[in-house]
């Protein structure tokens, strides 16, 4: 009977040490999919409550990180589905005018924020893969596990996404010059 609280206490400290540090990754992935910061924050809180409730089962998973990413992906895609069926359209307020700046580094800075917009327009799968690989630096195997895809399928989609982003940037760059 004395063992029970000790065990939960151990689970709690373990949770605080291993799961809680994932909050930034969870938030960034949620934001990538849900776009709005508010919704991403709500989703992160919701997801951590779920993880907290299931903390006794977490050690059954080989990678808690991958598990948390999978949960985040599923949760956010569900949210998006519910939103679409409610016919609520996402409103993006971050459209900017293409001010043609003469200075090169300003131009680069401008295209940095352009990249955000371009990723936003990618299909969901490519969005997820770009986020997991180029921002969070997961291995292809791990991404495959999270998204339930073969590693080769991950590579194909990632290559497509990278090429699309670059080509769109070139296009915009050329418009700026002409």
């Amino acid at each position: 009977m004395i063992l029970v609280p000790n065990q939960t206490k151990m689970q709690q400290t373990e949770f605080l040490n291993t799961v809680l540090p994932l909050k930034d990754k969870v938030f960034r992935l949620a934001k990538r999919l849900l776009v709005s910061i508010d919704e991403a924050e709500d989703a992160t809180q919701e997801l951590f409550l779920k993880l907290w409730k299931n903390k006794s089962k977490l050690k059954n998973y080989s990678s808690v990180e991958a598990f948390a990413m999978t949960m985040t992906k599923n949760y956010c895609l569900d949210q998006l589905k519910a939103k679409r069926s409610n016919n609520l359209k996402l409103v993006h307020s971050n459209y900017k005018d293409n001010n043609i700046s003469l200075e090169r580094d300003i131009e680069v800075k401008d295209s940095v924020s352009k990249v955000h917009e371009l990723i936003e327009n990618l299909p969901e799968k490519q969005k997820l893969i770009i986020q997991l690989r180029d921002v969070e630096n997961f291995e292809f195997e791990e991404i495959g596990k999270i998204l339930d895809l073969q590693p080769t399928a991950v590579r194909v989609a990632l290559s497509r996404a990278r090429k699309t982003i670059r080509q769109q940037l070139i296009k915009q760059h050329n418009y700026g010059i002409s």
Binding site: D24, K31, T44, V112, I165
Partner: protein, 145 residues
Amino acid sequence: MELANIEQLIEKYENAETSLQEEQVLATYFQQDNTPAHLLEYKAMFGYFNESKAERFTKTIPLKTKKSYWKWASVAAAAILLVSIYTVNTSDSISDQERKDAKLAYQETQKAFQLISQNLNKGESVAIAGLQEFQKTQNKVFKNN
């Protein structure tokens, strides 16, 4: 890192064939200032990825550590229940002796009542004899009228 090497890595990168280490090499390369014009798009991309990595979740996460108190409350409730059941059971065994006493008392009282009723029966037959006598005299009186 030579430009030729970077260009090679970039080609691999576009085909999603670079390892995480190679991508790290590219990331550090594009943090430098003198990027050739034909690679500027990559500078923007890696710059954006780097920016994204720095993003943090700033809100607090409300985790209910108080939940364990409820567990303790249930333990306490179970203990109280056990104790109460135990005391009820033991008080039952005490009344065993009392029950014997009560039975004895009951038997004794019954004996006493029986004694009383026997005597009462005796008295009843005497009373009835008396009543018959009374009836006789009554008849006599009514006849005379």
